[in-house]
Amino acid sequence: MRDALHARVAALIDACADGARDDVTRDALLADLAAWQADRVEPYRRLVASRGVPPDAVAMPTDVFRHVRVAAHPPSEDVRVFRTSGTTSGARGAHPLRDLSLYDRAARSAARHALFTGVDRMHLVVLAPSPAEAPDSSLSYMLGRFAEWFGARVDWVFPIDDRLARALEPATEPVALLGTSFAFVHAEDRLDRRFALPPGSRVMQTGGFKGRSREVEPAALRAAISARYGVPQTHIVAEYSMTELSSQLYEATLLGARERRLWVPGWVRATVVDPETLAPVPQGQTGILRVDDPANLDTVSAIQTADLAIARGDAIELLGRAPGAAPRGCSLAVEEALG
């Protein structure tokens, strides 16, 4: 059964390359995946039983990954465990993977379409730890794969230091500058010069700040990055991913979109739901983002995030993460103490 599902997921990802969609096939696959996972992933089974609705109506909240193991296979079969950064609360979320082939397929297909649009290979400058330095970081893993798939030359620059200027200085061919938001802020704080990267250069920024740097509004950070590296804002692309997912969403500005909204790959279903009823909210209304990612074969495909979002057609307008679980009057310090 798993092998058959694996083959169907792989086929769907391949069929949706280049931005194609097949929602009927996707939805049928997601329903089958949910049923299969509800049989095998104990916390998901419990959650589905608690809700009393069909499995594909139930999404696993990301917080669950911080408290219990979420997997259809035993730890002995893990080939990799990605972990959340854990800087804003005590326990770290864990996403155990039995194989990385679907992750790779999804990451490659989405990035090829929305980030490395129109290029084969290019010079990558990565403002993040390498996979060897951060083996449990899904971001580092993905960037490491990007280096293999899309890199003509790769410079890993983390922490941010003089190597960044040395990597960018001689650029005569387009550069892809890839990193976390806080890494770009660190670079802003450190660099005292500007660059004029060759036309076709692009920037991918991902993630929040999580207390690792001063916080900068997205528009202000984009403007700063554009001015610093000489890259037009259309070529600055936000990537949305999370440790608990295997697929990524990208802003579609490189594909010609005028609004800064997330393009949802055809194999992924993104739904904005009401936080209390968990039912989809109408287009244009704020809710929380649910992502059904079939590449999450061996955990749970239906992931309920705490990110506030608005559905706009097939795209998603991301509003940011809801504040932490502590209510007014209670502290993060307490949460950390409790674990």
């Binding site: 696993m60 917080d63 704020t286 929380i288 506030l308 679980a325 007014r328 009057g329 209670c330 409790l338």
Partner: protein, 401 residues
């Protein structure tokens, strides 16, 4: 109005306020207590204009339902006359010393529980300090109604209280307040407290009321149905957003049965005291909280409440909004050990059982109000706050000889 002119106007108002403090100093604490009681009673009484105004405006400003607002007003202000008289007696100076008030006090409110202003406001005035109250613009209804009520009772006294609201981060105006005040009482997050403390003069009395939470404890052998009924009120009160609200309730054994009873009790109480509307943000964290509960334990949920029973020995923070965890702590000593991790953040410990026994096992550094289940959110005006008398910092004495 520019920031500079707002600063100037505030500065002048604070000077006037300090002068108006003379009216307080001319009155005895007992007289002030009477006037305060008259004022609070005007708000407590739903038949009076100010009582109607409170019930008309507080649901929107607080986000609580009208029944919840009415419950909060009646439990906080009911019996205020006796409590204020007792408070005035408690605050009296010991023999041989003379009480002297602060020239000007400031009370900076957090806005999570709208009645949180009642005790500090009363205490400051009983200490005969004129008072500047800074409340968020979304949550200044009760202090403003109080000043209106006091104006009806004793206009001179009312002139010794000023309520202001301005957006967070208006540092120039905050600095003006901190510059004028001789005592500053601050409610809010630990980071808010730290920021204000850093800008407060070294000789200014700083009274901190930081982050906190409540927990519950059920002794073995207690009637779980009765205990659940009482704790349900603690959870439902103020929609569990206060720093006294229980996030989790520990029981020596029989947690699953207690969780079921608590769920039934919350279902019942939601009829009389329904929960207010849920913001998207709180809804998002509630969804995560409930998901964890269902995935690793047993989740009972209903219209505006949820109870989890989770097979772990440690409490988990609730998002509020009537989501409470039940767990088996493995004995009182083990529970106390968990409480020690929370330290001074543990503000209230509700107990179904032997209060004295529970209070005595608490480790150093933990000084909650240990109270019967069902009274966590109704501490009364004489209750200690953060392990200290509520008037701590508001009294100053001149010693003679």
């Amino acid at each position: 109005m520019s920031v500079e002119s707002a600063e100037q106007a505030l500065s002048e108002a604070l000077d006037d306020l300090a002068v108006a403090g003379e009216a307080l100093r001319r009155r005895t604490p007992a007289q002030i207590a009477e006037a305060l009681a008259d004022a609070w009673e005007r708000i407590a009484d739903p038949e009076r204009a100010l009582g109607r105004a409170a019930r008309g405006r507080l649901p929107a400003s607080s986000g609580l339902t009208l029944p919840m607002v009415a419950w909060a007003l009646s439990t906080t202000l009911g019996g205020a006359r006796e409590s204020l008289a007792a408070l005035a007696r408690e605050m009296a100076p010991p023999p041989g010393v003379i009480a002297t008030p602060h020239r000007l006090g400031a009370l900076i409110l957090a806005g999570n529980v709208f009645t949180a202003c009642v005790q500090p406001l009363s205490v400051a005035l009983l200490a005969r300090s004129p008072l500047l109250v800074k409340a968020s613009s979304a949550d200044d209804v009760l202090p403003r109604l109080f000043v209106d009520a006091l104006r009806e009772v004793d206009p001179e006294l009312a002139a010794a209280v000023l309520v202001v609201s301005f957006p967070r981060g208006t540092e120039a105006l905050e600095a003006t307040i901190l510059h004028h005040a001789a005592a500053v009482s601050v409610y809010g997050s630990d980071s808010t407290l730290a920021a204000i403390r850093a800008r407060t003069d070294a000789n200014t009395t700083f009274i901190a009321h930081g982050h906190g939470l409540g927990l519950g404890w059920v002794d073995a052998g207690e009637d779980v149905e009765e205990a659940a009924g009482r704790f349900a009120l603690d959870v439902a009160a103020y929609d569990q957003r206060g720093c006294m609200s229980p996030h989790a309730i520990a029981i020596e054994r029989g947690g699953e049965a207690f969780a079921r009873e608590l769920a039934r009790a919350l279902e019942r109480i939601a009829v009389e005291l329904p929960r207010g509307p849920l913001s998207t943000q709180v809804g998002a964290t509630q969804m995560q909280w409930r998901g964890v509960a269902a995935a690793r334990g047993v989740l009972h949920e209903g219209d505006g409440w949820a109870v989890s029973f989770e097979p772990v020995a440690a409490p988990r923070l609730s998002p509020g909004a009537r989501n409470v965890m039940v767990f088996e702590a493995g004995g009182l000593e083990s529970f106390a050990e968990r409480a020690s991790v929370i330290g001074p953040h543990l503000k209230t410990l509700g107990v179904a059982g032997d209060l004295e026994r529970v209070a005595r096992v608490l480790p150093p550094g933990v000084s909650p109000r240990v109270c019967p289940a069902g009274t966590m959110q109704t501490p009364g005006l004489l209750a200690y706050a953060d392990g200290l008398p509520a008037w701590e910092g508001w009294r100053r004495f001149v010693t003679v000889g």
